[in-house]
Symmetry: C2
Subunit: 433 residues, 2 copies
């Protein structure tokens, strides 16, 4: 298809959208050279056209008629950076029904209803690209979708939420409490006024669902993801991890089961050894660790959010779909041939770090150890700290199912010699069996 | 194009080739699902068919007639893992002339004569993919070619040779000499009996040329790359760097000049701060740091060599070209639209760490400082160590052109008060201007 230009419709003109406009303008000659035809911005759908915007945005292109814009005959590519489920989904579906290719950064929509989008893309003969939906600027989905497609991914372990990483890093570095670190993150613009989506792990869970689907060629939605946030992490937890040579990170973990017949997808805080490559990921950076059978261990690191980094990923996708349109080709479709079920959290194999406040008398360890043995959970290390009313047992287990570990904790709480289960945290990234 | 199967011809069946065969066999069902048609191994060209090989390789597929194999009418994809310039180049060109797509891991050939291969691909309507040629299993070229194509790369800074990283890491960790660390690397199979290509930086220079071409959309050959190896690095250099909070790494550095009108491409040992993400890259791992205008700082980390990791990258490319063939599409062509010249090393802006053995008398620093001033090189830090015959001045400069720094060193050698220039090392990854 020889074309004078390819027309792009942009939905949303906030932090990311305005950077997309800026890059389309500033890089227009380079983009045209890379694509083989110039890109032209056909229109920008916004809710409030009167609002003050980046100087790069030509007011004449603004419209409130998003539906009209995405179905315009001359539009080739629709870029959706509104976020949220509706109206984003309806607009994307309208565009694809007209054969427009779509580039989106919308993790929530992909994690909730990616199947519908992929089906619409297939039926409309359109491309659906979404590199910016996970880990912002880091090229991660394309490597998973394409580079590693001849390999077999075993596990994806990532820091995919910059806000919580900033908070945990501050807690680790300065000893701050969760509340103080959150306030600082808010003051710096790393956390929103309502931080729920970040600190409760919803954002990371959506990304985990997308990563798991791509890594394992199966369909995973946000509802399949076991999710725990970081609001209960105390300065004492962080200090205790630090003393043992660990750091606490909010991890998104996608793993095949040992028999390869199911996958586990979870987001929760975990202790990782300071020697692990993910331990050095500071501030609001993201990093994703991928283990594949042949490739071995890979890591991808960079900025997971922000206008310009996210726009960079969006532009990469725009170039790809533009090239596909010119050559009449299509990018990779949804790959779900493996059809692996997502197993419940109880079947996940992990390790626990447990702190117990105990009464300080002989025989305590024997009784505690008996509870672990009852559930077939073996203990890797145990040490006693303090004396009298401050006596504490700190245990780290070997790998066991989460169900067995949970049952162990339940039984420990029932023991008269256990005054309190002071802390329970999973341990990851440490290959001790 | 509906096809019963896509036929693959393999050139070479050594460490990488035998792993490619293994993966094609083991993963055949998954690969067929990902591609949309099964892959079939049409033949394997080897020099010595009688040699003992991996059990995965069907002896009936072996042939010594490589030219006949790559031009066979039923072959769709040629995978070249022989390495070296000839006969690899002739075979690739023969294959492309017949319209076969080519996947190669051949960094030396791409860095010497990539232009010829790309032209042959274009003329033959064939794909040329070479992810495995740089940094083994790490998906790096596809992100540069595709994900970052809407951005503007400023700099690529990488550890792209595992052998030298292993040697330098051993020297840093154990205090070993270069010779001892090399011997250990040889004993472990990380270094070849003739280690020249690795320790003199030829391997890294070829990779730097490929990376620079992709990052800056221009044409760079191995001959354009300024190259220094690690054979002169002493245990004292490593210890001195360590004492200052630095680590010595062999870096491949590709950077736009400050005015954006030329590029510099170089491979040399350099001191980097221990806090830099590349400093933590241990043993034979590779990692590449990319700075782009919008994406910011990205890092890619993983295994840079080895049969299975390299085969993983080859398989990813096979899947891509197979999918392209089925859909009648083509992958990205050579992108050289920027046509930027490679500037000489003298124009590169860098910093130097310099150790001078000096006579211990008043006025020495003033005379040394005058030499730096004469060349407009400003000094960031200076300290004196030892006394009398052991007196040493250790200086770190601000950024200056390599030509000015070299001239400074030349003049310093001529000073009567300088008994010897004991060490000169570039400092990178430290953004002090």
């Amino acid at each position: 298809m020889k074309r004078d230009s390819l027309k792009v419709a942009l939905l949303g003109c906030g932090v990311v959208g305005s950077q997309v406009v800026r890059l389309l303008n500033e890089q227009s000659a380079d983009l045209a050279a890379r694509i083989g035809a110039p890109l032209e911005l056909a229109g920008v759908a916004v809710r409030r056209p009167g609002r003050k915007r980046d100087a790069a945005v030509d007011p004449a292109l603004l419209t409130t008629d998003a539906e009209g814009l995405v179905t315009r005959d001359d539009v080739d590519i629709v870029v959706e950076v509104i976020g949220g489920i509706e109206p984003a989904r309806s607009l994307i579906l309208s565009a694809m029904a007209k054969g427009k290719s779509v580039v989106t950064a919308n993790k929530a929509l992909l994690a909730e209803d990616g199947a519908t989008l992929h089906r619409a893309a297939r039926e409309g003969g359109a491309d659906l690209y979404y590199e910016a939906s996970v880990a912002g600027a880091i090229p991660l989905l394309r490597p998973l979708r394409e580079s590693l497609t001849g390999d077999r991914v075993r596990r994806v372990l990532g820091i995919v939420n910059g806000t919580t990483n900033y908070i945990l890093d501050q807690m680790d570095t300065t000893g701050a409490s969760f509340t103080d670190a959150l306030e600082e993150a808010q003051a710096l613009g790393y956390a929103e006024a309502d931080p729920t989506a970040d600190v409760e792990g919803f954002d990371a869970a959506a990304k985990a669902a997308i990563l798991a689907g791509l890594a394992f060629h199966t369909r995973v939605t946000a509802a399949d993801v076991h999710r725990e946030g970081i609001t209960e992490i105390t300065a004492a937890d962080v200090a205790s991890a630090k003393a043992m040579g660990y750091v606490i990170k909010l991890l998104a973990i996608c793993a095949r089961s040992e028999d390869g017949r199911s996958v586990g997808v979870r987001v929760h805080p975990a202790m990782i050894p300071r020697s692990h490559p993910l331990a050095g990921v500071r501030e609001a950076y993201n990093a994703v660790f991928v283990e594949a059978e042949s490739a071995g261990q890979l890591m991808f690191y960079g900025k997971g959010a922000g206008g310009a980094p996210t726009a960079s990923a969006v532009l990469g996708d725009i170039v790809a779909v533009a090239r596909n349109r010119l050559s009449g080709a299509r990018g990779p479709e949804e790959s779900v041939y493996a059809g692996l079920p997502v197993h419940p959290m109880g079947e996940t194999v992990t390790r626990y770090h447990i702190s117990l406040d105990v009464t300080d008398k002989p025989g305590v360890l024997a009784r505690v150890a008996e509870i672990f043995a009852r559930h077939d959970v073996s203990i890797q290390t145990v040490r006693q700290e303090g004396h009298g009313d401050d006596a504490q047992l700190v245990l780290v287990t070997h790998r066991a199912t989460d169900a067995a570990l949970t049952a162990t904790i339940t039984n420990l709480r029932e023991l008269d010699i256990v005054r309190a289960v002071a802390g329970v945290m999973r341990v990851e990234g440490d290959e001790t069996p």
